[in-house]
């Protein structure tokens, strides 16, 4: 007998009588004041929120606030004139080791915890939002949902090879519980909140 068969038969023999799977859809009813809550939640976990009108405002902000010269990569075609535009997933992950800024577009964002959701087609190269020194994310106000329940409701059965929630800059408090931003991932997270 293989280990697989042994494990499955032991599990089958030992598991309790079938219990009903509870409904979770009732949790979708929860509602909170969406954009304000999102701003508060993300700020509380070390992120920064900048309200912008359009892509031109974003460019102006980047011009003024991002260090120059620096290697900037974007997956947003409208920003292709101020950063390297990453069109597809053909980049070798290691080639991104010196990226300073990555500017990506979120699929959705969650008000209760300040997280943004991106799937592989939005980040093109899986490692991009992690390996970049600083991360910037464009979020449309209409894409903010109240809680994780609505987030998964929107994600539904979408297909992706990889997807992730990102909530603020990479952080650790492993040394005497002192919070330090910039552990292994991005040192900061800026969200451009667009109408």
């Amino acid at each position: 007998m293989t280990s697989r068969e042994r494990i499955l038969s032991a599990v089958k023999a030992n598991q309790p009588e079938l219990a009903t799977l509870p409904d979770v859809d009732f949790l979708l009813q929860e509602d909170i004041d969406v954009p304000e809550k999102f701003i508060a939640a993300l700020t509380a976990i070390g992120g920064q929120v900048v309200s912008v009108e359009n892509h031109a405002t974003i460019k102006a902000f980047i011009d003024e606030n991002f260090e120059q010269p620096s290697r900037k990569i974007t997956t947003v075609s409208e920003l292709g004139d101020i950063a390297e535009y990453m069109e597809d997933n053909s980049a070798e992950p290691h080639s991104l080791e010196n990226v300073d800024y990555a500017i990506i577009q979120a699929d959705l964002a969650v008000a209760e915890n300040g997280a943004i959701w991106v799937s592989e087609d939005k980040i093109r190269t899986r490692v991009l939002p992690f390996i970049t020194q600083y991360l910037a994310v464009i979020v449309r106000r209409e894409d903010i949902v109240p809680t994780m329940h609505q987030a998964y409701n929107k994600i539904g059965s979408n297909d992706y090879g990889f997807a992730t929630f990102i909530a603020g800059p990479s952080k650790t408090a492993d040394i005497e519980q002192s919070l330090v931003l910039g552990a292994h991932g991005a040192r900061s997270m800026t969200v451009f909140l667009m109408p």
Binding site: T2, V11, P16, V24, N113, A115, D174
Partner: protein, 459 residues
């Protein structure tokens, strides 16, 4: 019955930890502070109790249908292009990891946090087979440099002072002696590990949740180390216990809301990464590990322990854990949850752990999946005593107690003797031979027992 040879028991190890009283206070306060942050986060969620109950019920359904969910997960993962392995025990798990590495002639691996690999002692096994393993979670890297086990499942080096960490970094990473600034040390680790991430062809991660419906798995970190390792490597190995399964993707909404609020008081971890398919040209492996879990599943009184999502809330709140330190549990998973998981693996070796509790129930109250932890601790004590796995002294005193409580004459005599001793010869009990005397004085004896009082006063 022969006396149990238990040289590493919780009480002795806790005594060592308690030699440094100032450190115990610091440890206690730090963990209580995290517990308080949990409370603040939890109180912001109006339907927290509903979430806990829902999570508990989902997990109950998982345990009751686990054999089907495991097969559903396997079949979906396979069609996603993931290689699925099954390991009956720690040894087989470690062997599978080694064989994957050997197949690719890989001699170095980067690892993110996985309590399962701690349980399996994977690092020691791989090192013995010539594989270099670097733990990339900062806390785990620190305990790895110190050649220690993590003392907490979420906060691996919570027992260490920053000065000790500064010294470790000075020895191993060449930082200036005496520099113990957390910001500086974290930046040093970032630089050192970035090089590791960029040069490793294999990365191992744990699994927080595995979704039967889709064949994907979720890994949660704050540091981003799991993602840095996995996305830069050619081979990603993910190790999971059979109990990590959840039925559908939408159930993540419930568990991700509970996990980090319970753990550290954050609303969610920085990264909650969903791995569904290997990147093109890359390999993704999942190792599904039993290692005693199917036996625990068959123990009616203890199977709920398999609902655990490894948040560590029970440790942060436990008055015994906070004052005895994680290492006193001599097991990969310490604290209250470790004390109900470990005896399943080896009842003799871990016979002491269910006794390392006051049964106050605080663990049960904070558990996000409503495991009846303190009740299981109490039940384990009975199982352990029945099976004869208690030290001879405890067994003898329990027998005397049994005899005293079942004989009215003996009971009254013992009561009188006790009151007499406490009144006229307190030195008989207020001495080092009596463990109850440690850190406390014995009570003032009452003048008479209730029985005596009742006899005098009844009409």
């Amino acid at each position: 019955m022969s006396e149990i040879q238990n040289t590493t028991n919780h009480a002795d190890l806790a005594e060592v930890f308690n030699n440094d009283e100032a450190r115990v206070d610091w440890h206690d306060e730090t963990l209580w502070w995290i517990r308080s942050k949990r409370d603040v986060a939890v109180n912001k969620i109006s339907n927290w109790e509903v979430l806990r109950e829902t999570a508990s019920q989902i997990k109950h359904n998982v345990l009751s249908n686990l054999n089907n969910y495991l097969q559903q997960f396997e079949s979906n993962a396979l069609s996603n292009g993931i290689t699925v392995h099954w390991a009956a025990d720690a040894k087989e798990h470690n062997q599978i990891v080694l064989s994957i590495l050997e197949k690719h002639s890989i001699g170095q691996m980067v690892k993110s946090k996985s309590m399962l690999t701690e349980e399996c002692h994977l690092n020691d096994f791989l090192e013995a087979n010539g594989i270099n393993v670097i733990d990339s979670d900062l806390g785990e890297r620190i305990v790895q440099l110190a050649k220690e086990m993590p003392s907490h499942i979420v906060l691996p080096c919570i027992h260490k002072k920053k000065e000790e960490i500064g010294e470790l970094f000075h020895q191993h990473l060449g930082t200036p002696a005496g520099n113990a600034d957390p910001q500086f040390l974290t930046e040093t680790a970032r630089q050192h590990l970035r090089d590791t991430f960029l040069t490793r062809r294999a990365a191992l991660t744990g699994v927080n949740f595995a979704i039967a419906e889709t064949g994907e798995f979720v890994v949660c970190t704050n540091e981003g180390n799991a993602d840095m390792g996995a996305h830069l490597a050619d081979v990603h190995i993910a190790s999971m216990g059979i109990e990590k399964i959840i039925p559908e993707r939408k159930h993540l909404g419930v568990f991700l809301r509970l996990l980090t609020r319970s753990a550290t008081g954050q609303p969610i971890t920085t990264y909650s990464s969903h791995f569904k398919r290997p990147n093109k040209g890359k390999e993704m492996h999942i190792i599904i590990v039993d290692n005693g879990r199917s036996i625990q599943l068959g123990r009616e009184d203890f199977r709920n322990s398999l609902k655990c999502i490894r948040c560590g809330a029970c440790m942060n709140t436990c008055p015994v854990y906070r004052r005895s330190g994680g290492h006193s549990y001599h097991n990969a998973i310490s604290g209250p949850i470790g004390s109900i998981l470990a005896p399943n693996l080896d009842m003799e070796k871990y016979a002491d752990l269910p006794f390392a509790s006051t049964l106050c129930g605080s663990c049960t109250n904070v558990c996000p999946v409503k495991i009846d932890i303190h009740q299981q601790l109490y039940k384990w004590r009975q199982v352990i005593v029945k099976n004869g796995y208690v030290p001879a002294a405890k067994k003898a005193s329990m027998q005397i107690m049994d005899w005293t409580l079942s004989s009215p004459t003996a009971y009254h005599t013992a009561g009188k003797a006790g009151r007499f001793v406490l009144k006229y010869a307190p030195f008989m009990v207020n001495n080092k031979l009596n463990p109850w005397y440690k850190h406390r004085d014995m009570p003032e004896p009452p003048k008479e027992s209730f029985g005596e009082w009742y006899k005098k006063n009844r009409k």
